[in-house]
């Protein structure tokens, strides 16, 4: 699964409940504050602008520079 390192699957998901995978702890590769303000987040892993959101799941390569 692409971006496997992004999430940790829930062991026992309950039927009928929606789940958002918890963000993995990270404070290494961050956007600097000013770039983050423009992007809308300082965490690259959460940087899913329009046109990107949804495509990643199908494994499309989105960011050429190796971003998530």
């Amino acid at each position: 699964m692409p971006y496997a390192n992004e999430t940790k699957a829930l062991e026992m998901p309950l039927v009928g409940y929606a789940y958002v995978p918890i963000q993995q702890a990270e404070s290494r590769n961050l956007f600097d504050p000013e770039y983050g303000l423009k992007q809308g987040t300082i965490f690259p892993i959460l940087n899913k602008p329009l046109g990107v959101y949804g495509h990643q799941y199908k494994g499309d390569v989105i960011f050429e520079d190796g971003g998530m």
Partner: protein, 80 residues
């Protein structure tokens, strides 16, 4: 972009980064790195805010403390 706008953008950027770490800590309240980064961003935002306000006037009415004039009304509005 003049100095005032450049400094204001820094204030906004670090205030934003503090809020990002705030949101992260909501779900990782004991994360050491997160706690450290949050403090670092908060301190930087406060420092930049103090610098901005000393040069260009208050950013919010709480800090409009000039005893002689409510200089909140003198500094330019965001759209000015």
């Amino acid at each position: 972009m003049n100095d005032r706008e450049a400094l204001l953008q820094k204030v906004q950027a670090f205030s934003f980064a503090e809020k990002e770490w705030n949101l992260y800590l909501d779900t990782h309240p004991t994360d050491r790195d997160g706690l450290m980064m949050h403090k670092r961003m908060a301190d930087k935002a406060k420092e930049l805010t103090a610098e901005f306000e000393s040069k260009y006037g208050p950013l919010n009415t709480m800090n409009a403390t000039n005893p002689n004039c409510f200089d909140w009304i003198n500094s330019p509005w965001p759209w000015d």
